[in-house]
């Protein structure tokens, strides 16, 4: 399976039903807003420091099964937004809904892949992947089976009984991904998941993520600093303004799927990157003052 991932294909393979092929049904699927944020606002009020407005008037819609990336200047509230969506942070104002229901706390239909992995050091790979199932109250034998499957899926078989400190960064994030997928959530939140990895591991993980996404049909919200990564993976890229974060522009990525590494060398791909960059540049200038 891994070999197939790595082969550099220009020709797209046969499509599975339900995969996005820019037909009318797909367009409708993307339009039905599965996640809906309206006028979202959040201000952090740390003790003895000035308050920081992370989000203000953020509107955002995500379709079911869509792969959406968020890019924006550092500190524009991308991670904050993911944490609100995850249910760990409560917004001060506005409204955020998943499938029409207001989000009030964490839920089984959402799972996060954390930038710094967030693996429990005292748990083996297997036990880390089992965490969500354990908290859900799934019996031990079923947990084992499901976790073993996912460990295989992310290519870590043979490492079930290793501790996180014995793994490389890429392997740790595979565990993080397997853990998030274990509870079979509908929405996968990814907060710069590959930022801590080296470039080659990152390329590999991106390909595998696309494969898994294509098969598992999850809605993915992906926060990244890399324009290339956003363009490569997403159906749409949302550029956020400098803090406080609002949607500045939505860029649709009309590139065929499945996507592969070679596609990143095409002129179309570079045009898309340029579009994202030009939008983002204004915000970077607004934030830093450089290049004005």
């Amino acid at each position: 399976m891994r070999d197939r991932n790595l082969s550099l294909r220009v020709q797209s393979g046969p499509r599975k039903p339900g995969a996005c092929n820019f037909s009318k049904t797909c367009y409708l699927r993307a339009m039905a807003s599965y996640i809906q944020a309206q006028n979202l606002a959040l201000t952090f009020r740390p003790k003895n420091r000035d308050p920081v407005t992370a989000l203000q008037g953020l509107d955002l819609e995500v379709g079911k099964g869509e792969f959406l990336s968020l890019v924006g200047p550092s500190g524009c509230g991308k991670s904050t937004f993911l944490n609100v969506l995850l249910g760990l942070l409560k917004p001060d104002g506005g409204d955020i809904r998943l499938d029409g229901k207001k989000i009030t706390g964490p839920g089984q239909e959402r799972a996060m892949v954390f930038q710094e992995f967030g693996l429990l050091p005292w748990r083996t790979v297997l036990a880390n992947v089992e965490l969500g199932l354990e908290l859900k109250g799934v019996p031990a034998s079923m947990r084992h089976q499901r976790s073993s499957e996912l460990i295989k899926l992310v290519g870590l078989n043979g490492f079930e009984h290793h501790y996180p400190h014995e793994l490389s960064g890429g392997m740790k994030q595979r565990v993080g991904l397997a853990r998030a997928l274990a509870t079979d959530p509908d929405v996968l939140l990814m907060d710069e998941p590959f930022a801590a990895l080296d470039a080659q591991t990152r390329d590999l993980m991106q390909l595998e993520l696309l494969q898994i996404w294509d098969r598992a049909k999850k809605t993915v919200l992906f926060v990244t600093h890399s324009i290339e990564e956003a363009a490569y993976l997403s159906d749409r890229v949302i550029v956020l303004t400098a803090r406080p974060g609002r949607t500045k522009s939505v860029i649709k990525i009309n590139l065929p799927r499945p996507r592969d590494y070679e596609m990143r060398l095409t002129a179309d791909f570079n045009d898309i990157k340029a579009t994202i960059w030009n939008t983002l540049k204004e915000e970077l200038i607004a934030r830093t003052g450089y290049g004005a």
């Binding site: 964490p106 967030g118 005292w122 748990r123 965490l131 908290l135």
Partner: protein
Amino acid sequence: MALKEIYTEYQRPILGLASVAGLLLAWELVLTYLIPVNPFFFTKPSLIATAFREQVLGGRLSHDLIISSRAFLWGFSCAIAVGIPVGVLMGWRRRAEYTLDPFLTALYASPLIALAPLIIVVFGVGLVAKSVLVFLLAVFPFIFNAFAGVRSTDRLLINVVRSFGGKERDLYFKVILPSTLPYLIAGSRIALGRGLVGVIVGEFFAASEGIGFAIARFGDTYQLPEMFAGISVLMIIAVVVTEGMRKLEAVLAPWRVGQEAR
């Protein structure tokens, strides 16, 4: 070559035993040949060993040990049972920290051993008073280390467990306690030393049996080898228990093995 490999493998016990043996030998030789001190005032390892043997064979030693360890175990167990929950609560709940902090700091910093006469007056001579003294001395390292351990818990891991639907209980058992465990083991080493002080001092003040009583009595009657025999027993126990804790750490916290920096 083979010898060198054995040395590398067992460097720790070899160097440890060699330094102890060297010190005992030097002590013996100096007192035998260089400064022949009157054995009434000072003693040497060979005499201590003889006294030790006699005490073991006479059954007196094991009796004293059982008496003292009973008090120690009661006090120490209570210190664990009270210290860990209080420390964890203080680390996790700010209100608990602010409320309890003044008492704990005052009690930890002051020489609690000064309370020994009072405790004996209140609880009488015997098991209860000694256990209370052990408890008072041993509980603070558990409280403070549990507190420090909880405070050092990684915020990210708390968020991870929360994000998967973990409740307060899950946070305690799946994140806070495991990450506090290494601190608790370090704390128990300190508590061990303080607890031993508690037993011995309790028996110094008022007792008719126990290892501390034996040491005090032999000291009062200038039976130095016998007194040193009692002291060495305490030392051996302390070393054995500390080593046991090291092993316990390897069993309880296998994820930390191999993370040493040097």
